[in-house]
């Protein structure tokens, strides 16, 4: 039918590597291969046409392993047209730069949205499904490492420890949900290891996913801090345990690390490691809010005052603000602590006061 310009091709029979020069033509939706011993006729339905891929020759494959290799060009396009062949949607999109730029923008947006919302949401769904025993194992390992490298035994007097321990028990027992953590739900006293004059970790308390809450002497020794305020901080940490924030965080950073490794791992492990580190999240603002709210509720339940949490936060902030000033003059970046992993203190203090100010 269409005999504009003949389409020449090389035919392979699938049994040998021999090339057979042939001429292709379309007739009523049937491909005619001329140049072999006899003319071969193949209906379009029985042909697999390869996608255009750069300047590579395209292939028309027939069911029996035979195929034709054809240079790209007008002649081939005319032939395919005459056969009634349509390129797939993906191919048509792939061919256009405008689409590629759009695709790029969409990829960036999807990744950003995934990191911002999808990941926390997913982690929130998964975290509660992880058995307590698994988290316990995980935490034991972490605690062991911490004890080995960063923490030393507390030097608080046994009496003081007992007081705080009693307060902690009251907090823990006030929430029956926490019973699932069993014996691991405990308050541990530690002191930050001092290294060569550097002050190490400052006043701090933190929770492990398995239920252990670690209280550092430095926090207890903070100027003017009362036991009630310390307990308020512990209640906040119990909030992290209860809401499984540690687990969520772990899931989030694992996924982020896996994705960066998939994307950048090919370039360099070092680079992808850095990227993963940059994406590693501290507790998010939402988690802090949840833990604050939990702490406030717990304190109210025990007839204590949520204001204690607010004032504890302020004292911590004051401490770090002072340290920062003096540290900047000596060696910058020496101090890391509670507030680093707990951003936006001001806003949190105000929120607590706003909600529970009347008490």
């Amino acid at each position: 039918m269409s005999s504009s310009s003949p389409c020449v091709a090389v035919y392979f029979d699938g049994q040998s590597s021999r090339r057979h020069p042939v001429e292709l033509a379309a007739e009523a939706g049937v491909l005619q291969v001329a140049g072999l011993a006899e003319i071969r006729r193949v209906p379009l339905a029985a042909i697999r046409v390869s996608e255009p891929q750069g300047r590579a020759p395209r292939t028309l494959r027939f069911g029996d392993g035979a195929y034709c290799e054809v240079e790209q060009g007008e002649a081939l396009l005319d032939l395919l047209d005459a056969l009634g062949y349509r390129e797939s949607g993906v191919v048509r999109l792939q061919g256009r730069w405008r689409w590629s730029v759009m695709a790029l923008a969409m990829v960036v947006m999807l990744l950003a949205a995934g990191y911002q919302w999808g990941l926390p949401w997913g982690a929130k769904q998964i975290a509660p499904r992880i058995p307590v025993s698994t988290m316990a194992q995980l935490s034991d390992g972490v605690l062991e490492t911490l004890d080995k490298h960063m923490l030393s035994p507390s030097s608080l007097s046994p009496g003081r420890q007992q007081d705080l321990q009693r307060g902690f028990q009251r907090l823990a027992e006030s929430d029956p949900e926490l019973a699932a953590y069993g014996a691991r739900l405990q308050l541990l006293f530690r002191r930050a290891k001092r290294v060569r004059g550097a002050s190490g970790i400052g006043p701090n308390a933190f929770a492990l996913p398995g239920g252990q809450v670690v209280l550092l002497d430095e926090l207890v020794a903070l100027k003017d801090i009362s036991d009630d305020e310390i307990l308020a901080v512990l209640a906040h940490e119990l909030g992290h345990v209860r809401q499984r924030h540690g687990m969520q965080q772990l899931i989030q950073s694992s996924v982020a690390a896996a994705v960066t490794a998939a994307y950048l791992g090919d370039v360099s492990i070092a680079v992808s490691g850095l990227a993963a580190l940059a994406l590693e999240s501290a507790y998010s603002r939402d988690m802090e809010r949840e833990a604050d709210a939990y702490a406030a509720a717990t304190l109210l339940r025990l007839n204590a005052n949520p204001e204690d949490l607010a004032s504890a936060l302020e004292k911590l902030e004051a401490f770090y603000a002072g340290k920062e000033k003096s540290a900047k003059e000596e060696e910058p970046g020496k101090y890391t602590g509670w507030l680093d992993s707990h951003p936006d203190t001001r806003e949190r203090v105000m929120r607590i006061r706003r909600q529970h100010g009347g008490k």
């Binding site: 695709a103 994307y263 090919d266």
Partner: protein, 551 residues
């Protein structure tokens, strides 16, 4: 006398435009077909000459090079035949082609591989793949893989014909799902179980490793074809075991002792951390895993064939363990020097195992490449490799010296500058020294990589033959160094967007520097039954554990 130029073959004036060339090719081919149909076929040599001309001057890049060569030849007085007028009629296939083959039918000519892809094209495929994969939560990645493979296979030409890839996306998807599941189980066992349990899991999984490697070599070979004939891989599970297991055991031993050392504490700046950086960098070559047809496979970094899962995995492992330990200990505490001394027993064991491992690695690379090549087949024709273990050691030693040298330089630089700067006022100088040493370190690493890759490729292909035909590979260290370093920098600066261009650039270099030496027409004489393979599971698991989820 001398062979006609390709322009003469086509009856074109020298330097004719690309469109003219293509039109002439088509016209000549048509004429050829016409003759065949009328029962008076032209000799096959004409067809060969025509195909050769099309391959050489039908491609803009090669044409440019060829034109230059012609000009040079003429300038040197070598070719006084400057009369294109001889062949004015394009209706006949260049008659000059006829006398040429009369010389010697067996005369060997060089068939260069050719890569016709471009970065822009591959970028568009890549970004579409990435988007669809994200939108389908990973399901599309199997189709993405097929598209990518096809792009690289089909754009790799040898003697005018392209390679092809036949992987079945559904099979690949199934394999990927299973692999993903295993990966999750594996990495969570690494995270959540204590070390002994995890080591147990590793040991239990050990027999699986050769199987994965063997399966993935079979899958890749059987799903690649050239001129309608598939490749095949005949290596058995047993041979794979013999090749891989000793090395894997060695690696596990090293991991174990490294772990024991990390447990009992050594100077942290010194131990595994710096070691990890070094090995990790050495091992993380850019990952070109599956983007070259199997015949070009050895062009990849040999420890990347997936076959060395053990080696690479172990590095990942080591990196993982140490990173974990570091994170836990080091995130908050930056300076810690005074420590209880490590258990010397484990430290010695670790040193020994590292020594053992570095002694074994070249041998391992040698045997894995022998395994890979000596069981590879194209149709009925087998590949034979005569690589020499000595060459592997030589390459490893020289390549190992490069990063060592750069590190020594950096160390000297630092101590000298520390002494020079001494007291205060150092910011600008310090920063420039810091940058300089960073550059030096990377230069050392890339030099090592480029040297290993280029020299191993040359060794492997120059010592390998397909039936009676030899290959020739002439990659150069300097070229590859420029490409690797350039790719790395540009990829970094563009936040990864340059990646498709980088891949294409490397693929092109690799193809350009590999050739098959065979009499013209020899490539027409392969024959055989095709075996196919739809079981992607082995390959996908191997890939997943290689962390090759790149799109």
């Amino acid at each position: 006398m001398s062979m006609p130029t390709h322009y003469q073959t086509l009856g074109l004036p020298e330097g004719a435009g690309i469109d003219e060339v293509r039109a002439a090719c088509n016209k000549a081919l048509q004429h050829f077909i016409q003759q065949q149909r009328t029962g008076a076929p032209l000799p096959m040599e004409d067809f060969e000459a025509l195909q050769a001309a099309r391959a050489e001057i039908g491609d803009p890049r090669r044409k440019a090079r060829y034109d230059q060569e012609l000009a040079a030849r003429r300038a040197s007085g070598d070719g006084n035949r400057t009369t294109p007028a001889l062949f004015s009629g394009a209706t006949t296939i260049a008659p000059a082609a006829k006398p040429a083959p009369s010389q010697n039918a067996d005369e060997v000519s060089e068939h260069r591989f050719q890569f016709t892809g471009s970065g822009g094209e591959y970028f568009r495929i890549w970004i579409t793949n990435l988007l669809y994969t994200l939108l389908t939560l990973g399901m599309y990645s199997a189709w993405a893989k097929v598209r990518r493979e096809q792009y690289f296979h089909r754009n790799t030409l040898l003697d005018g014909s392209g390679f092809d890839y036949h992987g079945n996306p559904v099979a690949i998807l199934k394999g990927r799902m299973l692999a993903g599941l295993l990966l999750v189980i594996y990495s969570s066992s690494q995270r959540f179980f204590p070390w002994p349990v995890y080591t147990g899991v590793l040991l239990l999984a050990l027999p699986l490793l050769p199987w994965l490697v063997q399966r993935s070599l079979v899958f890749r070979a059987r799903n690649s074809s050239y001129r309608g004939l598939r490749f095949d891989f005949h290596g058995s599970y047993r041979t794979a075991c013999a090749t891989l297991l000793p090395y894997a055991l060695c690696t596990i031993f090293m991991l174990w002792s490294a772990h024991m050392v990390a447990e009992t504490e050594v100077e942290p700046e010194y131990t595994p951390q710096s070691l990890r950086f070094q090995i990790a960098e050495d091992m993380t070559q850019t990952n070109h895993q599956e983007t070259t047809p199997p015949i070009l496979l050895a062009q990849q970094e040999p420890w990347e064939t997936g076959a060395d899962d053990g080696a690479r995995k172990s590095v990942d492992e080591l990196a993982g363990i140490l990173a974990k330990a570091r994170q836990e200990e080091g995130a908050k505490e930056s300076a810690r020097k005074k420590l209880p001394s490590p258990d010397p027993k484990y430290a010695i064991m670790m040193l020994l195992s590292i020594l053992l491992l570095s002694l074994c690695t070249p041998w391992f690379l040698y045997s894995i490449n022998r395994f890979r090549l000596n069981h590879l087949a194209f149709a009925h024709a087998r590949f034979r490799s005569h690589i020499r273990v000595g060459a592997f050691y030589r390459i490893a030693i020289i390549a190992g010296l490069m990063p060592t040298l750069s590190m020594t330089l950096v160390a000297i630089l630092f101590s000298v500058s520390a002494a020079a700067i001494g007291a205060g006022r150092f910011s600008a100088v310090f920063i420039s020294i810091f940058l300089l040493s960073g550059a030096l370190l990377y230069l050392g690493i890339f030099s090592g990589q480029a040297y290993t890759q280029s020299q191993l490729n040359n060794e492997i292909w120059n010592e390998t033959e397909l039936e009676k035909y030899h290959f020739s590979s002439d990659q150069s260290f300097q070229d590859l160094l420029l490409i690797l370093a350039g790719n790395f920098l540009l990829t970094l600066l563009t936040l990864g967007l340059y990646w498709p261009w980088a891949k294409v650039r490397l693929a092109r270099y690799r193809a350009d520097h590999l050739a098959l030496l065979a009499p013209s027409g020899a490539l027409d004489e392969f024959a055989g039954q095709n075996s196919t393979d739809d079981r992607a599971i082995g390959e996908e698991i191997a890939d997943a554990f290689d962390f090759d989820i790149a799109l």
